[in-house]
Amino acid sequence: DTAVSQTPKYLVTQMGNDKSIKCEQNLGHDTMYWYKQDSKKFLKIMFSYNNKELIINETVPNRFSPKSPDKAHLNLHINSLELGDSAVYFCASSRTGQGRYNEQFFGPGTRLTVL
């Protein structure tokens, strides 16, 4: 009964490759997020998305793109991987909307290593 799940847990790949990380939530939430946690544990929002709006952090390279086949999924596609993309990527979800300020639920993370 995992709330927010991500696959794969570990991803090791070569520079220049294209890869995807999948995220699914079974909480019925309407908004999903992707975060990047670097080697110093600093956590930074990359995207937030619901069925109405995609908000992109302006510092995120356009090699990164979120894709949402439905409300329960938000996958992260990364093209032309670079060494600096190595990090732990977290998916999260929450219930939002006017007057709702609910906490986000996080997935277990995907550790991406680019060689």
Partner: protein
Amino acid sequence: AQSVAQPEDQVNVAEGNPLTVKCTYSVSGNPYLFWYVQYPNRGLQFLLKYITGDNLVKGSYGFEAEFNKSQTSFHLKKPSALVSDSALYFCAVRPNYGGSQGNLIFGKGTKLSVKP
């Protein structure tokens, strides 16, 4: 620029002693404030939040936090620390733009180490 500061990289506490993990913020308006905990090789877990009302908020695992508007602080506290509390703690702020999406700004994290 909007930001969250956790001034301590690490806090060391003896088991049974009270603990405090500090957080201050710089955002416009009345923000919504959160604390999350991250255990090794795990995702973040929600501890507590302040939206409005009583400045003292109680959360999971015996933690509480006090919102101080004049000092723009939201320090995390626990009266008696446990070894199992050892983890990385993140303070987060959601600026209150009035929009519907809840993007959070995280502090850099504070490592809490509780020794027996």
